[in-house]
Homo-oligomer: 305 residues x 2
Amino acid sequence: MTVLAVDIGGTKFAAAAVAPDGEMLARAEVPLRGPESAGRTLSEVVRRITERVAPGRLDGIGIGSAGPLDPRRGTVSPVNIPAWRDFPLVDALGETLPGRPVRLAGDAQCMALGEWWRGLTDGDPAARSRAMLGMVVSTGVGGGFVLDGVPYVGPTGNAGHIGHITVDPGGDPCPCGGVGCVETVASGPGMVRWAAANGWTGADARALAADARVGHPTAVRAFRRAAGALATAVLTASALFDLDHVVIGGGVAAAGPILFDPLRQAIERDAGLGFLRRLRVDPTSLGRDAGLFGAAALVLLQDSL
Amino acid sequence: MTVLAVDIGGTKFAAAAVAPDGEMLARAEVPLRGPESAGRTLSEVVRRITERVAPGRLDGIGIGSAGPLDPRRGTVSPVNIPAWRDFPLVDALGETLPGRPVRLAGDAQCMALGEWWRGLTDGDPAARSRAMLGMVVSTGVGGGFVLDGVPYVGPTGNAGHIGHITVDPGGDPCPCGGVGCVETVASGPGMVRWAAANGWTGADARALAADARVGHPTAVRAFRRAAGALATAVLTASALFDLDHVVIGGGVAAAGPILFDPLRQAIERDAGLGFLRRLRVDPTSLGRDAGLFGAAALVLLQDSL
């Protein structure tokens, strides 16, 4: 069984054909050009796969999508794609490959499942996490849990919203309606907003990371502040889920040691209870492919999920 | 199959014989008299059940215990029972009824499972929660999750430690090693400590609740502050687990509307994301029996767990 994996992001769509052993037979990526182009972009990215892997060889479709989404109804409403509100993505892709199973989960949930399946412990099932959190720290902050090898998506499919837990009750209001959410502090825009309010004059999170790497004090503090919020979030999730492994990807996480060093220090400092101290925290080992592997795994591993 | 259910608390032990339909055939409770008496108290509370329900009729043993505990090894180390450190409770009770299955989980995990099985939706499996949190708010704050009818205990058995998630990063240090944990704010001793520091002169949490009920401003604020911390904790768990129901028991929760009114108001105010807004929050409907029902359910429902 080879699977069509589709990753619906806020700024680009990606797709791949993935074999049961995890080999990626074909891969394509198409940027979204304007808010009305989502339908065309979806057709285009799928066509680039089926040009190279005949549709007759594709036995299922796995989809990871930016949220919110409703896996029961198969619909998605990605925040950055206003043209898609309750868009029937499962039906739309099902028409492309009629009769095949189609499965849908959140993008961060797929990232977590991809890391669990093909990530750091690839090839050694015994070394795999029993309770894992995958996080995407980027323009937003998302998460997904894999418990004993099964993605935990919750009754409505919305489990893993770690970007919207409060880590600073006296903090900024969040567009979600909450206050002091992780996303207000540790997302790229959240970090840039704080740095700008403290006198930094750069353009974006990438520039902030570059400045932090050469020791710009405000930029360094912005990353330490984000790392502190992420540490609280990671320890919170660990206390509730008894996690053994956290894998973090996304643009902000790609900044590397300027984020991970203070993050690990904060976790080391604040992890009190004994069972929290076994937690490993790693950057993604699959980069942007984690979500595609996870989308494929939704179908490929479904008998064991 | 009738089960011996045992509830190991910090100040008393309880036991019951529970039939498969949930009927409690016998129930006993024995207070702990001094730190060295745990072994005698255990024998005594079990004897009071086996006097009334013949040991030959008891086909299994379910145990809920104050933590920390290690369900894999069957050992417990309750904070308030210093004489028991890595005490082999599963073996000790297994010798009482040789050859029967013995299962062990945390006290709050059993409280949650008991509420799921025999609580508000008793008799109507269709109305049961798909993702439930049970909390015990008392001298400490504990929790347990039941996901699709299965207790989620995590790889080391420690899932559900909601009392030790940080809700106030600038708050008091917690004996666990963390900072601003729910327990520092919302436990009975935490509330009393704060009220005393703000001029209140009563004796304990019970007196604080009595004063809050008659409108003593500092007592009212202490309950509002605890409710705020619990609201943050409940919303955090809901964002991560996609919860539909939270049930709260324990001595502090027994204070009633002076806690639940501000708690529900804070949740209503801060629940931004759509899926959080379906959450129901209720006081326990089983009182102190929830833990015994849950301990029994560990064995009675084990085929479906």
